[in-house]
């Protein structure tokens, strides 16, 4: 008992006895998570404001007589006439490895029932992006595990690649596949004691769910958990039921968590799912704050809203720790309209886009990636050489195939060369079909693409190609692990390795019956 009393005594001694000065204001208007306050003459832009009941907000509009504050948390506890005070602090969230495997709110508070977050550091939610000097060109691959992407639209560490498409075209699946693939690669290079092999750089992921249904978020968490990816991942949620202020701040919070890895010489990946809903939440806040609205009623600074967020993704040079933050923002289009306001904004900010088409999805081509409209502006510099060797011409071939396939629909007689292009194209399309949540390692991709490119499926019926591909993958994994290991270690194909791959495929072909 005496020790408890001593503890209390120590706490009392630590208490500051000087007068506390604060700047206060009174709520004069409260609507949809945004409060207008009279007073707060000393508040700074983006400063945190404390309301009664431990509710916090951020000052966004500083006017002559009033201050507009967006409120995080339960607004129903507040009323007109309540007093709020400045805190002198900027909004910050906990960061660090203690967040791995956790599901947190936009403010970094745990929402998964696994207890408090084990984190000693906090990063400000809003931060200026790294400048020109600490940056470096993208030159290390970030494998998504999706063959169509890794071979034709490669992504590098530090890149910002947009995933864009209509509703239900598989945007989230691509993002989740990428996260799962990072976890698979991390596990591949993990020692028994939990450390990583020397020289290996693990990728930690952050998935930010903005304005999504709670059921979808629960499904995502479960999928990542089932795939064993949650231990390398943090999920930041601001569901559709959360107030718009939380939805507005969630991507910045997630970005701060990712920046921790980048600033400390590690690699990280962040998925913003999705920025269309983020823009809608910001539009709601802006309209309530009575900011002038522009095209599609979005405020004038909606471009800056996304550019300042995506500019924080970077690859830092060796002098600055060599870390990176790769961003995969997601945009949902309406009826395939990529020329709408928000899609064009984000397309212009990012380093390329993966465009998903409803028609392809409905035809059963999944992932429904439109090869013609998808592009990666910087990723090819980071592509693994082996993949480049086998898939260098694939994009052009597929584009040619699509053009000829459209022409061939008219049923005219085709010459042998055109027919050969169409036949090969049909098989390549089958090759790129991949079930959800099953990313393929680089070495498997190289072997499969090599097989199709070198005509080993030319005599296989198109509808049986997918089964053949699956069987060949199975054969390589179970019987030819040594060949796969060589591809993974060498990362490029020489004559000896090519001969080994050929020999393995021939062996499989002899035993496989379509």
């Amino acid at each position: 008992m005496s020790s408890v009393l001593e503890d209390i005594q120590k706490e009392i001694e630590k208490l500051e006895t000087k007068t506390v000065k604060s700047n206060v204001g009174t709520i004069v208007q409260l609507a949809d998570g945004v409060a207008k306050l009279d007073g707060l003459s000393g508040v700074m832009y983006s400063e945190m404001v404390e309301f009664p009941g431990g509710i916090f907000g951020v000052a966004l509009n500083l006017e002559e007589d009033e201050v507009g504050v967006v409120i995080f948390g339960d607004v129903s506890q507040l009323k007109e006439g309540d007093e709020a005070k400045t805190t002198g602090r900027l909004l910050s969230v906990p960061v660090g490895k203690g967040l791995l495997g956790r599901v947190v709110s936009a403010l970094g508070e745990p929402v998964d029932g696994k207890g408090p977050i084990d984190s000693e550091e906090r990063y400000p939610v809003e931060k200026i992006a790294p400048g020109i000097l600490p940056r470096k060109s993208v030159d290390q691959p970030l494998a998504t595990g999706i063959m169509a992407i890794d071979s034709m639209i490669p992504i590098g560490r530090g890149q910002r690649e947009l995933i864009i498409g209509d509703r239900a075209t598989g945007k989230t699946t691509i993002a989740l596949d990428t996260i799962i693939n990072q976890a698979n690669i991390n596990n591949q290079h993990k020692n028994a004691d939990g450390t990583f092999e020397e020289g290996f750089r693990p990728v930690y992921s952050i998935y930010v769910a903005i304005g999504q249904k709670q059921s979808n978020i629960a499904r995502t968490v479960k999928a990542l958990e089932k795939a064993g990816a949650l231990e390398y991942c943090t999920i930041v949620i601001a569901p559709a039921a959360a107030n718009p202020a939380n939805q507005y701040i969630a991507p910045y919070s997630g970005c701060a968590m990712g920046e921790y890895y980048m600033q400390n010489g590690m690699d990280s990946l962040i998925v913003y799912d999705d920025l269309s809903k983020h823009a809608v939440a910001y539009r709601q806040i802006s309209l309530i704050l009575k900011r002038p609205s522009g095209r599609e009623a979005y405020p004038g600074d909606v471009f800056y809203l996304h550019s300042r967020l995506l500019e924080r993704s970077a690859r830092l040079n060796e002098d600055n720790g060599n870390g990176s933050l790769t961003a995969l923002p997601v945009i949902e289009t309406q009826a395939g309209d990529v020329s709408a306001y928000i899609p064009t904004n984000v397309i212009s900010i990012t380093d390329g886009q993966i465009f998903l088409e409803t028609d392809l999805f409905n035809q059963g081509i999944r992932p429904a990636i439109s090869v013609g409209l998808s592009v990666s502006r910087v990723g090819s510099a980071a592509q693994v050489k082996a993949t480049k060797q086998v898939a260098g011409k694939l994009k052009g071939q597929l584009a040619q195939y699509r053009e000829l396939a459209a022409f061939a629909q008219f049923g005219s007689d085709l010459d042998a060369q055109t027919k050969a292009i169409l036949d090969k194209g049909d098989r390549t399309v089958e090759l790129f079909k991949q079930p959800p949540l099953s990313p393929k390692p680089m070495e498997v991709q190289v072997a499969l693409i090599w097989a199709v490119e070198n005509g080993f499926f030319a005599d296989v019926e198109v509808k049986k190609v997918a089964a053949g591909i699956a069987a060949l993958q199975e054969f390589f994994v179970t019987a030819k692990g040594n060949v796969l290991d060589k591809i993974r270690e060498q990362k490029k194909l020489d004559d000896t390795l090519t001969a080994e791959i050929k020999e393995a495929i021939e062996e499989w072909k002899r035993s496989w019956k379509a």
Binding site: T17, K18, N23, V24, L40, S41, M48, T87, S92, L107
Partner: protein, 131 residues
């Protein structure tokens, strides 16, 4: 009159309501109101509302509201007023207001600034979430 013009007009009326020591004077306020009554401008109600808001804001700048728990002597009130007059460079008057929620100590509000030295605040700092 547009909202902006109403605001500017109300600010000018508040200027006219201040005496030589830049204190809100009851006589001058009466004078302003009588003048408005004699020759009412358009949107008088909106103007009066804005005038009241601005006047309250002005009063807050020159009046120290001293909330206290326990006893507070007139001499202490005077010394608080004198201290804030020195601090703000304007004549500040002090008004006492008992507030048992403070448990012990005082809380002084002048304008938007609050100076607090009370037991309730010190206890509250122990439970502030770590934002």
């Amino acid at each position: 009159m547009r909202q902006r013009e109403i605001k500017d007009f109300a600010k000018r009326l508040v200027e006219l309501s201040l005496d030589n020591e830049r204190q809100v004077s009851a006589d001058r306020v009466h004078g302003v109101l009588e003048a408005l009554q004699a020759k009412p401008p358009r949107q008088l109600k909106a103007l009066l509302k804005e005038y009241l808001t601005q006047l309250r804001r002005e009063l807050r700048q020159t009046q120290a509201v001293v909330e206290y728990a326990g006893d507070l002597s007139a001499a202490t009130l005077e010394s608080i007023a004198a201290e804030f007059t020195k601090l703000t460079g304007r004549k500040v008057t002090a008004v006492g207001k008992p507030n048992p929620e403070l448990i012990a100590g005082v809380r002084v509000r002048v304008g938007d600034d609050v100076y607090e030295d009370s037991l309730a605040t010190r206890l509250a700092t122990l439970s502030i979430p770590n934002f």
